[in-house]
Symmetry: C2
Subunit: 334 residues, 2 copies
């Protein structure tokens, strides 16, 4: 197996990603923002959102679907709403452009929404909510994709995989962070299973005829199932509305209609909500100590805090670097 | 079975609730607000949040835990945050008191948070999010309770049942609304199963030794399980933080420590978020038509829109009235 993989230092991940993106037609600002995002995924041991995505990023730049020279533009459409026009580029530069303004807005208003539109989303969202939590804010982010999950009771894909990311600030610790697809499994993980020929766990999806299957390729052609039955489907629907109609961006079904279907991301939006606990709470009331909750989770046998695994992987990768398939390295054109 | 139940016109539900609450020491403003809330539950065919709760409401008034003469107070702690001190009363009057101000604040700011604190929460939340959606807003509400659900991997109750309610405005239709516990089943439904001696479905909970069981009483003494495994547990944890530490109210574990344990509600908060789609979206981008999503859901065989069942039950109850157990009627002191 090791002969089929290549070892990379973590710094080399960024260099490689940057070179490939510049080669595919990105300008430096966009390429740097995307390479940072890919680097963060590899740094945190999440290969499905790391270099694995570079060929897709590059394909959609080369065919002109995504604007590699995007100049994101910010507009305050209401006192607590920061509307972002991503200029048809990938999402990372839009996020980088808004980061300071959005955090300041949240701190002054108590709560704020960032409505990121006209971008192509191809990344995990924990880095942006973690960054907001490092600034003392509670943050929620979500995005849609194209139809992957049926509504409750149905069998045809309608909602995207529709991840939800959440972060809570901790004074003396890394923020508490989770980032989970509304699908039982992240689509990126299913793509990895398909690539490697590994069967899926039960409940991950159905084939195009609506029958349960463990075949990753059959699920990619059929439908992914939500976590937790009809309640998970309701979460997926809520995310579909927040990351689409609420901010004026496409539904997953609309995104699919307007996509080139070349395997890259679809045009869509990202909904980001942030709140400043210093403004949403008052002192007279007793209780409300989040750290007690975290201690009580960690104290239970078998339980651990969400995100702890990511922090552990981050330390491990920092020491050991990453291994990627040789075939992937060969596919990345620099 | 019919001889053990009593038929009531819907209007009689409100009269009965009001009389019982006044008898238990509520003033008129509080009693009316609570009776309206109980009436809405029965109106929508949700007996677990209807008259079934009146004995609990009254018990906690009579023993002095809850303030029946509460005068909720509003404070703008930040430009987009409405902080509510419920004065130790039940939540309905706090919600009624803030309703107009909060909707106006959301429309002017684009997004707003209502931090409802120092109240006792004993009701479903769809009425308040539905009301906000009728005013053209997208709304999310959540609350915690006392420990019912273990963290992922654990077996001891830590999170409340932690419901999440969501509503989306529809121009020519009732708002789309869902209100779902983070527990696989609502605790009220488990209490009804326990009362009636009906076994629970698989996956609803574990006994106090951590073993799966279908016995409702054993689950009430043990722990309820979240919907969707670790992802549902993450949702429960997020709600615990939003309805507690974010707004400066108690965690479920803190609420239990400070409760009389007489079967009534615990002191806690409610987090309400509202957003005005007129402010969060801009017109230049194409797509984002929520009605297309709803049509696509309804068009799938076997699927239907969340909340449609509630609207159907509402029509049925309006025609037929409600039936309640004779034992419950006898328990309600007026």
């Amino acid at each position: 197996m090791n002969s089929d993989t290549v070892h990379l230092e973590l710094s080399a991940v960024k260099t490689l990603a940057l070179a490939a993106l510049l080669n595919a037609g990105c300008n430096k600002a966009n390429a740097t923002a995307i390479a940072n995002t890919v680097w963060k995924a590899e740094r945190d041991g999440c290969s499905s959102h790391g270099l694995f995505r570079i060929p897709g990023y590059c394909r959609s730049l080369k065919n002109g679907k995504v604007n590699g020279e995007a100049e994101p533009r910010l507009e305050r459409t209401a006192p607590s709403v920061l509307w972002v026009d991503g200029d048809g580029g990938y999402t990372p530069l839009a996020l980088e452009t808004m980061a300071d303004d959005f955090a300041e807005l949240t701190k002054s208003q108590g709560v704020a929404v960032a409505a990121i539109t006209n971008t192509f989303h191809f990344a995990a969202m924990w880095p942006e909510v973690e960054e907001l939590a490092k600034r003392g804010l509670c943050a929620i982010a979500c995005t849609s994709y194209k139809p992957c999950i049926p509504p409750a009771g149905g069998t045809k894909p309608l909602f995207g995989t529709n991840p939800l990311a959440f972060a809570w600030p901790r004074p003396d610790n890394d923020p508490l962070v989770f980032d989970q697809a509304s699908a039982m499994m992240a689509r990126g993980d299913i793509m990895i299973h398909a690539r490697d020929g590994v069967p899926l766990p039960d409940g991950a999806g159905i084939d195009k005829h609506g029958n349960p299957t463990n075949d990753a390729n059959a699920v990619l052609e059929g439908a992914q199932l939500p976590f937790g039955g009809y309640k998970g489907a309701a979460i997926a629907m809520m995310i579909e509305l927040l990351a689409g109609p609420l901010i004026g961006e496409q539904l997953s079904l609309e995104a699919a209609e307007n996509d080139l279907e070349e395997g890259g991301p679809t045009r869509g939006g990202e909904f980001v909500l942030a709140m400043d606990p210093k403004k949403t709470r008052q002192t007279p009331i007793t209780g409300g100590n989040a750290e007690r909750l975290f201690e009580a989770i960690a104290a239970q046998e078998g339980a651990r805090l969400p995100g702890v695994g990511r922090i552990e992987r981050r330390k491990k990768v920092a020491e050991e670097g990453v291994r990627i398939p040789r075939s992937l390295l060969e596919e990345i054109e620099v």
